[in-house]
């Protein structure tokens, strides 16, 4: 007789919890990053997933249940995470996606949504270096009146508002709200917020539905690294690189300013999850190998990230540092974190990571994209065997993938899943 969903839920949750505590669960848990692959699996187009989030969520549910994974993450590739209809209304400049209303925001129907670097011609300009002081003086005012108008064309009129700190009493309202540009923005925001609300309303029932079906969520709360707060969007990759040379103290001051914000974002999301999940997803990008030296990493990137993760841990939650790119040379630096309290996703090199970090954090990693897209099921299984034998040794390992599945061959993902569920059993 099959097990009841409640029992399976507890079993899966325990499997992941044990791995996080660096102990041996009953078997290696499996929860691959998919970034929209569920749509492919269920035969739903990218556009459909973004514009018809119910369909996108069905695709997720179908995939996770049929493949019997041990957890589910944010439903990437759906309008719940990227509410395309609302983004159309705001005419956002930081993304391009399939099916976008405006041609300039659109991308080929067969590809995923993608982020646009600041400074990309015809899109949006980065925050000017001279603006650091304005940001530091009053971050919210800066974001609302100077930054939002850049990243969303529909919010451009916000730049004509008077500074928000002028309004410390009722006599300030008329001058602020009588501004015609304000009513223009309100119309746009009203339309966008209705769309956002529709999409957002779907997440809670989806999570509860999955939980009822026996699957625990993992990393629905999230935050970013303080350096990436600027390098991913505001100053851009290149801008932050130049700031390390030209205005290192300003960059550090700005990083220090947003460090508590990153913690606050993590804890706000994590507390909403109640007892369903303690895991906070932290996707990080601009500190990867090559993007800076170890010296720069230790000076600009790591200290603030470490602080955010330690504060998350102190509040009883689990940071899930999702690194991308080559992290081999950073492994001994990022080892400086309390034992058995965090998950690190390592793309490259997961085997080296086991040697250096194996006694400190739970590792998540898996087969490379090349194998999953261009290899055979047997090759995938062979690779997974090596992973389970080496990285899975003694526990503390979650089977994931090097980079999200997105386009991977279905038979290869199936092979990886079934092999892990059979061979990954701890004796």
């Amino acid at each position: 007789m099959g097990k009841a969903p409640e029992e399976l839920y507890e079993e899966r949750k325990r499997r992941i919890d044990e791995a996080i505590r660096l102990r041996k669960p009953d078997r290696v848990p499996i929860s691959p990053g998919e970034s929209g692959w569920c749509l492919k699996y269920a035969g739903v187009s990218w556009k459909e997933g973004l514009y018809n989030p119910e369909k996108g969520l069905e695709a997720h549910k179908k995939t996770i249940i049929e493949l019997n994974w041990d957890a589910f993450g944010l439903p990437w590739g759906t309008g719940v995470v990227f509410p395309a209809r609302g983004y159309d209304k705001l005419d956002v400049q930081q993304l391009r996606w399939p099916g976008a209303e405006k041609e300039a925001n659109r991308i080929d129907a067969n590809t995923t949504y993608q982020f646009v670097e600041p400074g990309t011609r015809g899109k949006y300009e980065p925050m000017p270096a001279e603006d650091y002081d304005l940001f530091l003086d009053d971050p919210s005012d800066y974001l609302i009146r100077r930054w939002w108008p850049r990243i969303a064309r529909g919010l451009e009129p916000l730049k004509d508002l008077s500074p928000l700190h002028f309004v410390n009493g009722v006599y300030g309202f008329p001058s602020l709200f009588a501004n015609p540009s304000f009513s223009e923005v309100l119309k746009t925001l009203l339309e966008a917020s209705e769309e956002f609300a529709k999409s957002a309303a779907l997440l809670g029932p989806f999570v509860m539905d999955m939980v009822k079906s026996g699957f625990p969520p993992m990393g629905l709360a999230f935050t970013s690294s303080p350096y990436d707060y600027f390098a991913d969007t505001m100053r851009g990759t290149k801008g932050c690189m130049l700031d390390m040379f030209r205005r290192p103290e300003k960059l550090k001051e700005a990083i220090d300013k947003v460090t508590p914000y990153c913690t606050e974002m993590a804890l706000t999301g994590a507390r909403q999850m109640k007892d369903l999940s303690k895991i906070v997803f932290i996707p990080v990008h601009k500190g990867a190998g090559g993007f800076m030296s170890n010296k720069q990493y230790e000076e600009f990137w790591w200290p603030s990230m470490k602080k955010v993760m330690e504060d998350i841990i102190d509040e009883g939650f689990i940071p899930y540092l999702y690194t991308e790119g080559i992290y081999t040379e950073r492994l001994s630096i990022i080892k400086d974190i309390p034992k058995g309290k965090a998950i690190y996703h390592i793309e490259t090199d997961i085997f080296k990571a086991k040697e250096i970090l194996g006694d400190t954090v739970c590792l998540a990693g898996g087969p490379p994209a090349s194998l999953l897209n261009a290899g055979s099921p047997q090759e995938v299984k062979d690779y997974c065997k090596k992973l389970i034998d080496v990285v899975g040794e003694g526990g503390g390992f979650i089977m994931d993938v090097e980079v999200p599945l997105i386009t991977a061959k279905v038979e290869n993902v199936r092979a990886m899943t079934e092999f892990t569920q059979e061979y990954g059993v701890y004796k």
């Binding site: 690189m241 040379f245 800076m292 490379p368 090349s370 897209n373 261009a374 599945l405 997105i406």
Partner: protein, 210 residues
Amino acid sequence: MAKDLISALADLKEKEVLAIAQERLDSGEDPLKILGDARKAVAIVGQRYQNSEYFIPELVYSGEILKAIVEMVKPKLTKDAEVERLGRVIIGTVAGDIHDIGKDIVTFMLDINGFEVYDLGVDVPAKEFVDKIKEVKAEVVGLSGFLTVSFDSMKGTIQSIKDENLRDKVKIMIGGGTLDEKVREYVGADAFGRFAGDAVSLAKEWIGGK
């Protein structure tokens, strides 16, 4: 004096570099000589990058300083700098992918190493690569891609090059975050590179070998 500009720029001392360049320009020196020294210095930066003494931020910074020198001397230039070029390379991020950080670094490295680089940008349809190969008679094509969607797009681009009977006229290299030998085989390229410096070695090997 010339040595100072080269070493100051190779060591990324921006203020010093610009002061020396300004001084040399004011003393009536041929702006082309100043530019020539600046390029030599950036080539040293490229070497240090390949030796892992420098990383991408240093490359980007040296590029910015070079740009400032070009701006400074431009009004005094009477003719364009004639730089001897080793060969022609077309580069671009394939259709369906808009990532360009890696591609831009490779373009920069090829450029400072003496190649004429035609950068077609991002999300480049196969036809644009084909047309450009015909137009400039390039010897090397570099296809860039970050997402896994680029695998099939590269395959299609190379097929288009074959369909136009151009495949034996160009060497094709691929590069980007998730690529490896397996993907090279899958898409039918001649080589893949993990690091920006690999593109330089490959281009030198191929073009130098002719």
